[in-house]
């Protein structure tokens, strides 16, 4: 047990710092992915001239492995666009790109599932297109896709371990730093794996409960 105390418990500040960075990067990436997914999806559905561009971007983001995207954003984008300026930004941008492709398709399925008649009813009651979308379509879509959103967030948490490769100091990075300092990987890597498994498990269990609660409360049967 000496190693557990020395390598895991006594290093808890490092691990906690790492966990905070992990949480930060995941939340930022998730918010950006929802926003990006919504924009991609709306452009694909309603902006005729840019439709093909949106489809190409969605397919590119979905079909390229996250690790490849991460290195691509990190090494190529700064020269191409002069941005992102930090590893942390590159990390969440890459995580968000991948998920925005998946979420765009999720949102599209949700929007197409809202009956046409509801939209027409809104329009004939004198509501404008954006208002119909905001007040009638979007709330239902968000309830419908809530479980997929939770699922995508767990994917982001799992993929976020890779940002340690570009030296973002997340939980995985701190854990490997401890391994490299003490050269004794058993306890620390096992603890790290356990933390990640518990976090992802908790996120998906709580998220599913929350999604079901919202869906029941606002009139959609639980999945």
């Amino acid at each position: 047990m000496g190693n557990w105390e020395r390598l895991v418990w006594n290093q808890r500040h490092l691990l906690l710092d790492g966990l905070v960075v992990t949480v930060e990067i995941c939340l930022i990436a998730f918010a950006a992915a929802i926003l990006g997914g919504l924009v991609l999806c709306l452009v694909r559905l309603y902006v005729r001239p840019l439709r093909q561009v949106a489809i190409a971007l969605i397919e590119f983001f979905r079909a390229t492995p996250i690790f490849v995207q991460l290195l691509w954003v990190n090494y190529v984008w700064p020269e191409l666009f002069g941005w992102p300026g930090s590893f942390f930004t590159a990390g969440w941008v890459a995580l968000a790109l991948q998920s925005s492709g998946y979420l765009a398709e999720t949102f599209r399925a949700g929007i197409e599932a809202v009956p046409r008649g509801q939209r027409e009813a809104g329009l004939s009651a004198g509501m404008s297109h954006p208002l119909v979308f905001r007040r009638i379509v979007l709330p239902q879509v968000l309830l419908m896709v809530a479980p997929s959103l939770v699922n995508q967030f767990t994917v982001i948490v799992k993929s976020s371990t890779l940002v340690s490769v570009i030296t973002v100091q997340d939980l995985m990075f701190q854990s490997q730093k401890i391994v490299n300092t003490w050269l004794d990987p058993i306890e620390i890597l096992t603890a790290t794996a356990a933390i990640y498994i518990l976090v992802v498990f908790a996120v998906s269990a709580l998220g599913k409960a929350l999604a079901d609660l919202l869906r029941r409360r606002y009139g959609l049967a639980a999945s």
């Binding site: 079909a63 492995p65 690790f67 191409l80 666009f81 990987p185 096992t190 992802v200």
Partner: protein, 233 residues
């Protein structure tokens, strides 16, 4: 920016190193094939545990699924490569090391077995109980019922979901470069260090993976759908 864009899309470096890069890509396919086989077998095993009549075995199946489905694949790859050999070594009292390829296959196989187990289980539980009872009434042994009645229908039903998981698994094979399996990403980093031209190399890698995954996924999805319709009709 236009100069940078031209550099990023310049295929010359990629073409110059095509032999070594192609060899790297082959490793992605090796890892994918071995891990997919392992994941299917372990996943079926875990699914059968989860629908077993003994509670302890059901729990074991659930534990397997929850651990591996919730584990990030990079963490799993690192754990299997750096910790598992040490633990096994302690158990048998000898120093042990896994070749990176083996670690990659075990780790990805385990992680994806968690996903496949859930797909198998959903398929198995969608088979009406009456069919199993009918099999028993005809005097078929349990194993025969599994192979002749349940699995053929399960495989057809889980196909679309399974294709998605195969796609994810192939995409996940890119991370094995981090434990020095010489796959395409590994070779790209090596060549980048030598040539100091990350733009065309990383862009080329991204486009290569995109083309492969996009084409393969579209083809396999279309083929799976056709086969399903033919068999159902």
């Amino acid at each position: 920016m236009s100069a940078a864009l031209a550099e990023a899309l310049n295929p010359a470096v990629f073409w110059e190193y095509r032999a070594i890069l192609l060899k790297g890509l082959a490793f992605n396919f090796y890892v994918f094939a071995c891990a997919a086989a392992a994941a299917l077998i372990l996943g079926l095993g875990a699914a059968l545990l989860r629908v077993n009549r003994w509670r302890a075995l059901r729990w074991a199946g659930t534990l397997h699924v929850e651990i591996f489905r919730n584990a990030p694949d990079y963490v799993m790859v690192v754990w299997i490569h750096f910790v598992l050999p040490l633990l096994l070594g302690l158990a048998i009292g000898r120093r042990l090391e896994f070749p990176p390829f083996l670690s990659a296959v075990i780790a990805l196989g385990l992680v994806y077995s968690g996903y496949f187990a859930e797909t198998f289980r959903a398929g198995i539980q969608s088979i009406p109980l009456g069919q199993i009872e009918a099999g028993r009434a005809c005097g078929m042994p349990e194993r025969l019922i599994l192979w002749r009645v349940i699995l053929p229908q399960v495989v057809r039903r889980m196909l679309p979901e399974a294709v998605n998981q195969f796609v994810s698994l192939f995409k996940a094979t890119t991370i094995v470069s981090l434990i020095a399996v010489p796959d395409l990403m590994y070779q790209v980093s090596m060549v980048t260090q030598q040539e100091m031209r990350p733009l065309p190399l990383y862009t080329g890698a991204a486009l290569t993976y995109f083309a492969i995954v996009f084409l393969a996924a579209s083809l396999v999805r279309a083929a799976a759908e056709r086969w399903r319709q033919k068999v159902y009709a």
